[in-house]
């Protein structure tokens, strides 16, 4: 899976993509730019895993985002152009546009988070941070290994401790909450006891005898270099745009014409291109399969 397409890139390049995409997604505030970004993002999802993960998450994410768009005009009285009234509540055009743009930006962030899940395996995350923050990376890896083990143990405890009168499925609320914590307490004692044996086994294998090396292995390749340069250049150009004020819609106090001007178009093109960047490698490698077949 990880040998082809966008996923085959070095974790550092992936980090530049996600950091850049998210940063500029939060910096640009123009419905057109953000909608273009959303479209590009959706296309990336479709290319990377056929949109499976996105469909799974959208039903959780969408309600919150829609709520955000709906609540903003109800809450915010700012803006000069009153659109309509709900009872005595004035709804301004500015607040509606702001709310929708904000919701689009938030949704955009969430799309990044979902594709990050697909592309950026824990392995890659650890590879990056093992150098920057070795202690934290090691703790993370250990804890990730512990979570499924402890879940299983918690289920075992919940089963067996019924015989000790500890149960979360019946009885008054207070007793159930107390039982729940008792289970976690038992789990804590057990796991802490284990942790010390784990520490013994770590020291037995030479942990703490000096600086560690890293087994994880992502060799930077030519495509990583090219991608890095491309993304960095695009990011610099976007930063320039943003400083110039392109891709920014000043909603308040009075909504200007929301149609993008020339500067906004540049920002839009750069940003949509940046977000759609994974498609380049996805298509390139797919073409290789077609040719080789």
């Amino acid at each position: 899976m990880d040998a082809f397409g966008f996923r085959s890139l070095h974790p550092a390049v992936l980090l530049v993509y996600y950091a850049g995409g998210m940063t500029f997604g939060m910096l640009f505030f123009h419905p057109a730019v953000l909608l273009a970004g959303l479209a590009a993002n959706a296309a990336v999802h479709a290319a990377v895993d056929g949109g499976r993960e996105l469909r799974k998450w959208l039903k959780f994410l969408l309600p919150g985002v829609l709520l955000l768009a709906a609540v903003n005009p109800l809450l915010v009285r700012q803006g000069a152009t009153v659109w309509f009234y709900i009872g005595s509540l004035s709804i301004t055009k500015e607040a509606v546009v702001y709310g929708v743009t904000l919701a689009a930006a938030v949704l955009h962030m969430m799309l990044f988070a979902v594709s990050y899940r697909v592309v950026f395996s824990g392995e890659k995350f650890l590879h990056l941070f093992a150098r920057w923050a070795p202690n934290a990376a090691l703790v993370t890896m250990m804890a990730i290994g512990l979570v499924p083990r402890m879940r299983r143990r918690l289920a075992e405890l919940a089963l067996v401790q019924q015989t000790r009168g500890v149960t979360v499925s019946s009885g008054p609320l207070r007793a159930r909450a107390a039982s729940g914590l008792k289970l976690v307490w038992s789990l804590a004692g057990w796991s802490l006891e284990d942790a010390l044996r784990t520490a013994d086994s770590m020291r037995a294998r030479g942990y703490g005898t000096g600086p560690r090396s890293s087994y994880r292995h992502f060799r930077p390749r030519l495509r990583d270099g090219l991608s890095g340069i491309l993304l960095a250049a695009a990011a610099a150009a976007m930063l320039w745009c943003w400083i110039k004020g392109y891709g920014l819609l000043r909603v308040y106090p009075r909504l200007p014409d929301p149609a993008p001007d020339a500067g906004d178009w540049i920002a839009l093109a750069l940003y949509a291109g940046f977000v759609a960047f994974p498609l380049l490698w996805e298509w390139r490698d797919r073409a290789a399969w077609r040719i080789l077949r």
Partner: protein, 846 residues
């Protein structure tokens, strides 16, 4: 391969006058397999830990330990760690990481090996162990036997000169144990690895041993080749020592006496050869009674068999029971019918994963079948109230730790007695303690007991209500022969008093020696159910080593022994490394522009690599801060908030990375972080938002200090989001939980006041709201950016109030009711293992 010499070693634990080892001298020659045996408490583990320098216990030691003539303490730390490898008993807790590959690499990374070397070693050993297809798998998905194989491989990858094995087979089922024993033999015989092993189950390993060392009360009682060991033990006739003989050898000695003593047969094959030569009758009839069990069993058998044949009054019945763990999984129990009569002693046998544990849990009423029912004397068990059910059906899980809920053995017993309806629980607890030999342990913490003691305590809890039926899941697992004998006596006594016993077990010898009836679970049904006598006669695999003699069949365990070559040639030579080799001899095609670009890029990268990695964080953080400020001024509120919280995390982590952390500290923080993310599970049923995460984080801060509190808190957020989904919310959660742990830690080390119930609960209340407020900040900043109106900011916070209030209520509830107990629990571990609290906290205390 190494040469280990121990000279005149005497050792006493700190604070103990009695030495644990007395003048121990021994020697293990290169390429030897030496077996160290002795009863629990004879000093085996102490000796192994002294040889494994990193784990040497504190105390006073005289004498020398030499490895290849060099005193162990003169080796440099890295050499010492690599030179001696150790595998311990419990397969699970020795695993430090998440996947097989990471676990195997872990030790080599610690030793700072270069990447190419690591890959070469791993490629080679993964082949030898057959672990290659499993490399990417989470360790959690492996069976116990595989986990132990990973532990062994992980140690061998450090290329130890001496391999120490401390009861590596004790926690495994017989099949997995035999497989691993075969692997250990192969390592010794084919690879010449020097092994010093202590183990109770010697049937597989004694024949391969070059030397047996017997420790008694800390002194060497015997040291010599296995044949001599057998002779010495047999002549002395001490039952405490006879337990160390392999079952087949003991049988042969009883059967043939002196003839066998001249050249003692160590495995089944040799014994068979002996009696075939003798033309003797096989042990099928005579052997089983006379030699297999203890002599007294012969007399008892007759009476028992008479009892078995009499029809019993049915007590516990299962009718058409179907059970599956989920709708998409195949059923584990499929239409099972089974009747247990009053007063029986039934052994339930079956392969790994055949559902023995599940069946016991169904019989105990702990799980409810989807179809069919389980009745106790005609009443469906799920209709019985929990207390009555527990009183009438005792259940002992495979792991006795699962039964403990309280802080002392006394509390455990008192509560068990009360729950099962004893009139005077205190009195009853004392009675139980006397009966199960727990009196001296009453005030101890259940986790501080030894394996055998834990088992007895759990057994006492399970029979507190004097149940009609007692269901035991693998009760002999991990017990040494003495503890096993003691357990057997206990069970026979209970059975004699009229209690019906069902023992699910892999231990065929145990079943054969004690059960009156044996049942075999296969494909979710009882495939065979007969009196013990006839049951074993009809079996091929479920037979004790002695029964293998009976029909002159090949002992199947031998087949994977030396020369059983299916796996043999798989270990790749030094040139077998794939990627390491490719990395160096690569540039061939496209050597022109692309090659030059690649070389240039590599140079640039190499140049940047020389800068210490964490220094890169500083310019990155400064740049991001500047961007954040600009964003805020231009109304880009989302980024401003994100930059703010991101930067707030940086100093804490930078501080945490200042120095390399100790293994114990890391392991504890990892457990607490994992605990906080697992801890919400039981509460999902109760109330959303009513979770103990903040509580656990705060308690961590109180006990382990502010810094550990921050790291554990923020790690909980990061780790749980690996499972629930990372997103822009992750850094906010990391910061909020981190700060909850940090403030709790800071205050607790200001003075004892903040460790008390009420102030802690108050702090919990505050953090219930603060947590929500920090998470709401992203939206609040946006409201401010839009409207510059505080009213709107307040409205955002007001909207979150119901959630925050639930959260705060949970914190207060947990901290007020359980805060002190949790603080005691964590302090126990802090003190027991002297984990350092961070220095700032210490400074504050002094």
């Amino acid at each position: 391969m190494a040469h280990l010499e121990v000279k005149g070693l005497t050792f006493a634990y700190a604070g103990s006058a009695e030495p644990a080892l007395r003048n121990v001298s021994l020697e293990v020659r290169p390429g030897e397999l030496a077996v160290l045996c002795g009863a629990t408490g004879s000093g085996k583990t102490t000796l192994l830990r002294l040889i494994k320098r990193e784990l040497a216990p504190g105390g006073v030691m005289t004498g020398d330990i030499l490895l290849d003539g060099v005193p162990l303490h003169k080796l440099d730390p890295r050499q010492a760690a690599a030179a001696v490898g150790l595998v311990m008993q419990d397969p699970e807790s020795q695993l430090a990481t998440d996947t097989v590959e990471h676990e195997l690499a872990f030790g080599m990374e610690n030793l700072g090996l270069p990447r190419g070397e690591m890959r070469r070693r791993l490629a080679e050993l993964a082949g030898f162990f057959g672990l290659e297809p499993l490399l990417g798998k989470p360790l959690e998905e492996l069976s116990g036997g595989r986990k132990q194989a990973v532990n062994l491989a992980a140690v061998l990858l450090c290329q130890p000169r001496l391999l120490l094995l401390d009861e590596p087979l004790a926690q495994l089922d017989p099949l997995a144990a035999r497989e691993l024993a075969g692997l250990i033999r192969r390592l010794n015989e084919e690879r010449g690895v020097t092994v010093l092993l202590c183990e109770h189950r010697l049937d597989e390993l004694m024949p391969a041993a070059d030397r047996v060392i017997l420790l008694e009360a800390g002194a060497v009682a015997f040291n010599g080749p296995p044949a001599e060991f057998v002779r010495a033990v047999w002549r002395a006739g001490d039952p405490g020592r006879l337990m160390f003989l392999p079952a087949a050898t003991a049988w042969a000695l009883r059967r043939f006496g002196d003839m066998a003593l001249a050249d003692p047969p160590l495995d089944v094959k040799a014994v068979r050869r002996m009696y075939l030569a003798e033309g003797a009758a096989g042990p099928a009839d005579g052997g089983r009674r006379g030699a297999g069990g203890s002599p007294r069993r012969v007399a008892e058998r007759g009476a028992e068999e008479a009892r078995v044949r009499r029809p019993k009054e049915p007590l516990l019945t299962a009718q058409g029971v179907f059970f599956a763990y989920s709708r998409d999984e195949p059923a584990v129990i499929r239409g099972l019918d089974w009747t247990l009569g009053r007063g029986e002693f039934v052994a339930l046998l079956g392969a790994n994963g055949s559902g023995k544990s599940t069946l016991l849990q169904l019989l105990a009423g702990l799980r409810r079948p989807q179809r069919g029912d389980v009745r106790l004397a005609g009443v469906p068990v799920h209709r019985l109230p929990a207390g009555t059910r527990t009183a009438r059906i005792g259940y002992l899980a495979q792991n006795p730790l699962l039964h403990f809920v309280h802080e002392t053995v006394r509390d455990e017993l008192v509560h068990a007695a009360a729950f099962t309806g004893a009139a005077d629980p205190e009195e009853e607890a004392v009675r139980l303690a006397r009966r199960f030999d727990l009196e001296p342990l009453l005030e101890r913490h259940p986790h501080d007991l030894s394996g055998g003691e834990r088992q007895r305590a759990a057994l006492a809890i399970a029979v507190a209500g004097r149940p009609d039926v007692l269901l035991l899941d693998e009760p002999t697992k991990g017990l040494d022969p003495f503890a096993k004998a003691k357990l057997a006596d206990e069970l026979r006594r209970l059975n004699g008093e009229g209690m019906t016993l069902v023992v699910a077990t892999h231990d065929v010898e145990f079943a054969e020696a004690h059960a009156s009836r044996c049942a075999l679970l296969f494909q979710g049904e009882i495939a065979a159910d007969e009196p013990a006598e006839t049951f074993f006669r009809g079996n091929f695999f479920y037979v004790s080593p002695l029964h293998r003699l009976a029909d002159g069949r090949e002992d199947e365990s031998r087949r994977c022994g030396p020369g059983g070559g299916s796996e043999r040639g798989t270990a790749a030579g030094p040139d077998g490394g794939t990627d390491g080799a490719a990395a160096d001899g690569r540039p061939k095609a496209g050597a022109g522009v692309a090659g030059a670009a690649r070389a240039g890029l590599r140079n640039v990268l190499a140049h940047f690599r020389r800068v210490p990695a964490h220094l890169w964080m500083i310019p990155a953080a400064v740049a991001y801060a500047a961007l954040g400020v600009m964003a805020f001024r231009r109304g880009a509120s989302l980024l401003a908030g994100f930059a703010m919280v991101f930067l707030a995390l940086v100093p804490f982590y930078a501080r945490y990375e200042r120095k390399m952390r100790g293994a114990r500290e890391l392991a504890l923080v990892a457990v607490l972080a994992a605990l906080a993310s697992v801890g919400r599970v039981p509460f999902a049923l109760i109330l959303p938002n009513f979770t103990p995460v903040t509580f656990i984080v705060m308690v961590t801060g109180v006990v382990f200090g502010a810094e550990a509190g921050f790291i554990a808190g923020s790690m909980s957020a990061l780790v749980s989001n690996f499972f629930l989904g990372q997103g822009p919310w992750t850094p906010w959660q990391m910061f909020a939980w981190g700060m909850a742990g940090y403030t709790a830690g800071l205050l607790a080390h200001r003075g004892a006041f903040w460790r008390r119930r009420a102030p802690l609960a108050a702090l919990g209340l505050v953090w219930g709201f603060l947590y929500g407020w920090i998470l709401n900040a992203s939206i609040a900043i946006d409201q401010w950016a839009q409207t510059k109106s505080w009213a709107n900011v307040l409205a955002v916070y007001a909207a979150g109030l119901p959630f925050d209030a639930t959260h705060a209520a949970a914190n207060v509830f947990f901290l007020a009711l359980f805060g002190p107990a949790w603080i005691r629990l964590l302090e126990r571990y802090r003190n027991k293992y002297s984990v350092p609290v961070d220095d700032r906290a210490l400074a504050a205390r002094n």
